[in-house]
């Protein structure tokens, strides 16, 4: 069976067959249909017929099919599986008001040569599972439309536009709806992936959003920033033979749909508990704890050191990758849910953890990993050598990209080097090219395979003209008389034998030094843990990496009723892992506080 990639790409999907009024004999709403096959029993011009229609492809054409012409009328059509009528009696002719034979078919019917009925409980087995799989593998993964590669580096607007409903349906149709879905295991918060994809196929985008939100409170954000290729999509069965289902893109689509269609409803919280929770840090881990605890009925106060909430989502990840309007939308949602924000509160300074415990029943610490690392090589103090945090904070949080409308000066360079190979490095490089740099290079000490950034980021960076110097490591920065950086002396690396962890660590090649001329350097080699909270909370235990030590099951720290999660526990990780940690803490907190209430009420 020949279903060519290009055929599928240009399919237009319409849910309905032609409407034809049997009374006034008018046809209406008839557009050029790209319907492929119809294989049903129906009543056609008074007589029962075996309807096998194929206006387009030729698989069933040999069988005695009746071609469907514009205006043909079906008095009745039955689903071959459940035998229910497919003709919608509610549709009436716009001119005379008579019922007309509009046929309802399901969303995923549209992309492959068979249909199934939309009626609840119907499952059409027109093809064997093997056939279905065989066909689906041929449908290419649908990529999101994106801004032009040349033009986008002149703006800070988001690069992918997101799916249209058609693309989303097409992509959702690729999902095999596995009985034992591996993708769910790959997702750190176990979103019901086949469940929400099924909703998309049935055009129930709102329902899809609800399914996602059962497990993930920030889907519009995760759909954009999760490293899906190492999580859900890595596990997708389709990935064995072809490309996996674009789960992230679909997640983003349903969340955007819900937001744009104004379908987000603030739930009414029925139970109000007379208990107070303090959340320190407004990154993804803190936001998750806040959302969960509010839903349980606690009153929650969030303390944030910066003047704006969102953590890395606002100060780190750039606008062109995660529009701040989306983050603000989520934050406003929580505000309407009853979250109280206390901005400009650096906990450990204005209030200590112990002081918070005097006023709150439990505390969650999600302060992220905020202490940038440097390599401690000569020349790091030179002008225009920035940590990624400083560079991105200036550009994003302080909106230096809108300088001088905003007061924070924009770091500028024409030849920029970014040290590191993660998402942070890609973000810095892609920001630099947007500030007008003519030459931006990623300097990374391992090889391409080891680049820890999301694949999409690496691809976008390459498309935007960013160069990669792999297996290269800086040894010192060279400065001008005015103490500005003018070059990086680098040494070439090669991958050595695999170490205990199986990773091949890079070793320098003696005498291979080169000098790259640059006038701006961003060091994006990770973060250590910030000392502020530890300075005033001596009884908060730390692990050997200096992060907060927690009980793995509950995320409770060495101080009872004080929980922690996110980067401050794991070191720099991901948005979704921080959210997962927040959820574990919220569950445990709720359990412990409920048990405590019971005890006190019992003893009363």
């Amino acid at each position: 069976m020949a279903l060519l990639d290009q055929d599928v790409k240009y399919l237009k999907f319409k849910t309905y067959l032609p409407c034809y009024c049997p009374h006034c004999k008018k046809t209406f709403n008839v557009e050029k249909r790209d319907v492929k096959y119809l294989n049903f029993t129906g009543v056609y011009e008074g007589a029962d017929v075996d309807v096998k229609i194929s206006p387009y492809l030729n698989v069933f054409e040999q069988e005695s099919s009746i071609p469907l012409k514009e205006g043909d009328l079906f008095e009745d059509l039955k689903c071959p599986s459940c035998n229910k009528s497919l003709v919608n009696p509610d549709i009436v002719c716009g001119d005379c008001g008579s019922p007309v034979g509009e046929v309802i078919l399901s969303a995923y019917s549209r992309l492959i040569p068979f249909f199934s009925c939309l009626k609840v409980g119907c499952e059409w087995h027109g093809l064997t599972r093997a056939d279905e799989r065989h066909i689906k593998i041929k449908i290419p993964r649908q990529e999101m439309p994106e801004q032009d590669q040349k033009l986008r580096i002149q703006t800070y607007q988001e690069v992918p536009y997101g799916y249209t409903t058609e693309l989303a349906s097409l992509e959702a149709g690729r999902c095999l709806q596995c009985k034992n879905p591996k993708c769910v295991e790959g997702c750190p918060v176990n979103v019901d992936i086949p469940g929400f994809i099924k909703c998309i196929r049935e055009d129930d985008f709102d329902g899809a959003a609800k399914v996602v939100k059962e497990k993930n409170v920030l889907p519009a954000i995760c759909g954009r920033v999760c490293p899906q290729e190492n999580q859900c999509e890595e596990k997708c069965i389709l990935g064995i033979k072809t490309k996996p289902v674009a789960i992230g893109n679909l997640e983003r689509f349903v969340a955007d749909w819900e937001r744009k269609m104004d379908l987000v409803k603030i739930p009414i919280i029925k139970t109000k508990l007379n208990k107070r929770i303090a959340v320190v840090g407004s990154g993804p881990s803190g936001l998750t704890v806040a959302a969960d605890m509010l839903q349980y009925g606690y009153s929650v106060t969030m303390y944030e050191a910066f003047h704006e909430a969102g953590g890395v989502l606002v100060y780190g990840i750039p606008e062109f990758r995660l529009p701040k309007s989306i983050v603000n939308f989520e934050i406003n949602y929580l505000r309407e849910l009853g979250l109280r924000f206390e901005m400009n509160h650096v906990i450990g300074k204005i209030l200590t953890i112990d002081e918070l415990l005097e006023h709150f029943d439990a505390v969650f610490i999600g302060v992220g990993a905020g202490l940038p690392k440097f390599m401690n090589i000569p020349g790091e103090a030179l002008g225009n050598v920035f940590s990624a945090n400083e560079y991105l904070t200036r550009m994003n949080l302080m909106k230096a990209y809108l300088f001088p409308e905003y007061d924070t000066p924009k770091p500028r360079g024409t030849k920029v080097a970014v040290i590191g190979g993660g998402n942070v490095a890609m973000d810095c490089a892609r920001t630099a090219i947007r500030t007008g740099a003519s030459d931006v290079t990623i300097v990374y000490r391992r090889s391409r395979q080891e680049l820890p950034a999301r694949h999409e980021e690496v691809r976008h960076a390459e498309e935007e003209g960013i160069k990669f110097r792999l297996l290269t490591n800086p040894v010192q920065y060279l400065g001008t008389d005015g103490n500005m950086v003018k070059g990086i002396e680098c040494i070439k690396m090669k991958l050595g034998e695999p170490d205990a962890s199986g990773r091949r660590s890079p070793v320098p090649i003696e005498g291979s030094n080169i000098v790259l001329p640059v006038d701006l350097v961003v060091v994006a080699i990770g973060n250590g843990s910030n000392p502020i909270i530890f300075q005033t909370t001596p009884n908060l235990n730390r692990n050997k990496w200096g992060n907060i030590e927690v009980n793995q099951q509950t995320n409770e720290t060495s101080i009872p009723y004080v929980y922690a999660g996110g980067d401050i526990v794991t070191g720099s990780a991901t948005v979704i892992e921080a959210m997962g940690a927040g959820r574990i803490a919220a569950n445990a907190m709720h359990k412990k506080l409920s048990a405590k209430t019971k005890k006190t009420t019992n003893s009363n």
């Binding site: 400009n344 204005i350 300088f403 005015g482």
Partner: protein, 274 residues
């Protein structure tokens, strides 16, 4: 939002003093600590030391010199106006204890910061000698307050229009030569001043603390923009400082780093004038 309860112009309007309603900060702040101020939604975050506090009335005092866009905008604020964000207290408090005789050297706006530290040293029971330097008589600030705190006070002006003619280092040298009981020197002012004070005290082997003012953004250790080299190690001024051992600071590096944004700041100021 933080309300300005009182505004006072000093040094011919180049230095401004705000008393601001900030009860939570007033309750916690100690001498030597600073806050980060952002006056409006498009504003820059700038660090300013808390020059004084009143726990009971819940106020903090900020004294700042008008040098660029943000401080110029702040000058235009009036009594009763609101400041968008103030985060703090930040940084380590000055290491204050009863050690005997200390010399407090302040230059320019540095006197504002010095004042709070001097007060703390006095309250801890020390004999406090103050040396204040200014360009000329008009630029001298907080003379009255410092007179009240210090057991001895010397004033120097570059042009001799008031007090002794010369630099603070001249007076300091005299004291170091005459008195052997000086246990510590605290110097706060322009980088060059702190550099020369430290060079001088090194010869006399008198421990010296200086308060550094690198460019800052978050003030919480998050960006590393405030890094300074002390004792050949990189320190983040906002969490490790702002006070450091004056004999170990790399002043040249700090001077260079602080002048990096000069051009842009002019552009920003011009934009705001337009």
């Amino acid at each position: 939002m933080f309300q300005i309860l009182r505004k006072q112009e000093m040094a011919k309007g180049t230095i401004i003093r705000f008393e601001i309603n900030a009860p939570k900060i007033a309750k916690k702040v100690q001498a030597g600590q600073f806050v980060i101020v952002r006056i409006n939604d498009t504003g820059e975050r700038i660090p300013l030391t808390v020059a004084d506090k009143d726990e009971f009335s819940g106020t903090i005092t900020l004294i700042f010199q008008v040098v660029g866009k943000t401080t110029a905008l702040m000058r235009s604020l009036k009594q009763g106006d609101l400041i968008k964000d103030i985060a703090g207290p930040l940084g380590q408090p000055a290491h204050v204890s009863n050690i005997g005789t200390v010399v407090m050297v302040g230059g320019g706006t540095g006197v504002a910061i010095l004042h709070h530290v001097a007060k703390a040293f006095k309250e801890a029971g020390n004999y406090v000698i103050g040396i204040l330097g200014a360009r000329d008589r008009d630029m001298l600030i907080l003379e009255e307050e410092m007179t009240a705190i210090c057991d001895e006070l010397v004033i120097t002006t570059d042009d001799g229009s008031y007090g002794d003619r010369g630099f603070v280092t001249d007076s300091l040298k005299k004291y170091l030569g005459e008195r052997s009981d000086i246990k510590m020197v605290y110097a706060i002012g322009p980088i060059v001043m702190m550099k020369f004070v430290s060079k001088l005290t090194e010869k006399y082997k008198v421990p010296t603390m200086v308060s550094l003012n690198p460019v800052m953004i978050d003030g919480t250790g998050m960006c590393g923009g405030c890094r300074v080299t002390v004792d050949n190690k990189v320190k983040f001024c906002c969490v490790d400082g702002p006070d450091f051992d004056g004999h170990k600071v790399d002043y040249e590096e700090l001077e260079k780093r602080n002048s990096l944004y000069l051009k842009d700041e002019k552009a920003s100021l011009l934009f705001s004038i337009r």
